[in-house]
Symmetry: C2
Subunit: 202 residues, 2 copies
DNA sequence: GTCTATACGAAGATAGAC
DNA sequence: GTCTATCTTCGTATAGAC
């Protein structure tokens, strides 16, 4: 097989296994087995595990950028685009309830390992953060766009963590609805005093 | 040294190291070194790593219960008690920015390992969940107390994850303020129409 | 109860044949 | 480019002396 294709298979298998089992707990043997390669041949493509991790993060950065581009193109308004992000929790619900958020859990693990790649992994958060910030600016919230982006990113992380701990899809759906309601309330300059100031949480 | 005291030292060192480095990444040698014991002697106290993990979780459950009891006793109102919980993010800010939330990151790791102790670890969340739910009931929100408890637990998890990824204390402080504002808005039966329905997020 | 010494296996990494 | 075989390190776990 062509080297580039084998390399790509390795990266995709590692991407999945690092997510499902964690970085440390995934061995070269696991990945080689998933791809159908011998352990020895592995080192023709990647010299070290850290080099492989680097390739996996690069791959995830690319996939994430592509996804954001699709969301940008497929939605009409900034609010709809932000809803695409919120909806990730629903689309990936099954995997999130089993393994948490791929970005959050990787960053957590690398932070504890004090791994050199931890800052590159955090770049994955930055892609979402800046894209969301961009949407809030388009929504007319220039002044606090970054804080709003961090707020919704924070919520998605919290939902993912508790979803993995409780395996409760109703919790996920409920919090997604809360996020939608919160988002609707972020439109600037609303008509004053004509809304219920205490919308029910649930 | 008396066996019980040595055992207790081991559990406390393991508690700290499992938090700072993760469960898998912490070896018996690390713990033995931290306590000042030989690796061999270790097995007199704990036969396997899983047995040690079980003791660490038991220890954390005990510590958490004690903390909740103190919060219960030291605050006058349910709202103040819930603020004690929110304030954990500030009190433990330095450690959280370095290692995330001890409960969330442990549950995440054990979920990926599909470890038999993962449900026991989730009991740590349950302690907070039920205590918070209890406070919301006292606040007069019987109908949605559990959902409100899960909501604030979710926020604390999201803040901890992003705090660890960004090491940004201003983000933490900002989101803690948001949580306080949210909490203040949860008092039941507010005077209608006399508040700003769109309090600034930041 | 604590120690030293050691068995055993798993995982990262290398060498060299094909 | 892929294989088998092997090296090395490290971590779990055991044996037995003190």
């Amino acid at each position: 097989m062509v080297a580039a294709a084998t390399r790509q298979q390795i990266v995709e298998a590692a991407d999945r296994l690092f997510y499902e089992r964690g970085f440390e707990a995934t061995s070269f043997a696991d990945i080689a087995g998933a791809v159908g390669l011998s352990r020895g041949n592995f080192y023709y493509h990647f010299k070290t595990k850290d080099e492989l991790l680097d390739a996996v993060i690069t791959h995830r950065l690319f996939k994430t950028k592509s996804m954001l581009d699709v969301w940008e193109a497929n939605a009409e308004t900034p609010e709809e685009r932000i809803l695409s992000f919120v909806n990730l929790l629903v689309v990936n619900q099954t995997k999130i309830m089993a393994y948490g958020c791929p970005v959050g859990t990787l960053c957590n693990e690398l932070a504890k390992l004090d791994h050199t790649a931890k800052d590159r992994a955090a770049e994955l958060f930055n892609l979402f953060r800046h894209w969301l910030s961009h949407q809030f600016i388009a929504l007319g919230r220039e002044a606090d766009a970054d804080a709003l982006a961090m707020h919704i990113l924070m919520r998605s992380q919290g939902v993912a963590t508790l979803a993995a701990a409780y395996h409760d899809q109703f919790f996920v759906q409920n919090e997604v609805e809360n996020m939608c309601a919160w988002l609707a309330a972020q439109r600037p300059e609303p008509p004053a005093l004509c809304r219920n100031p205490f919308p029910p949480l649930v």
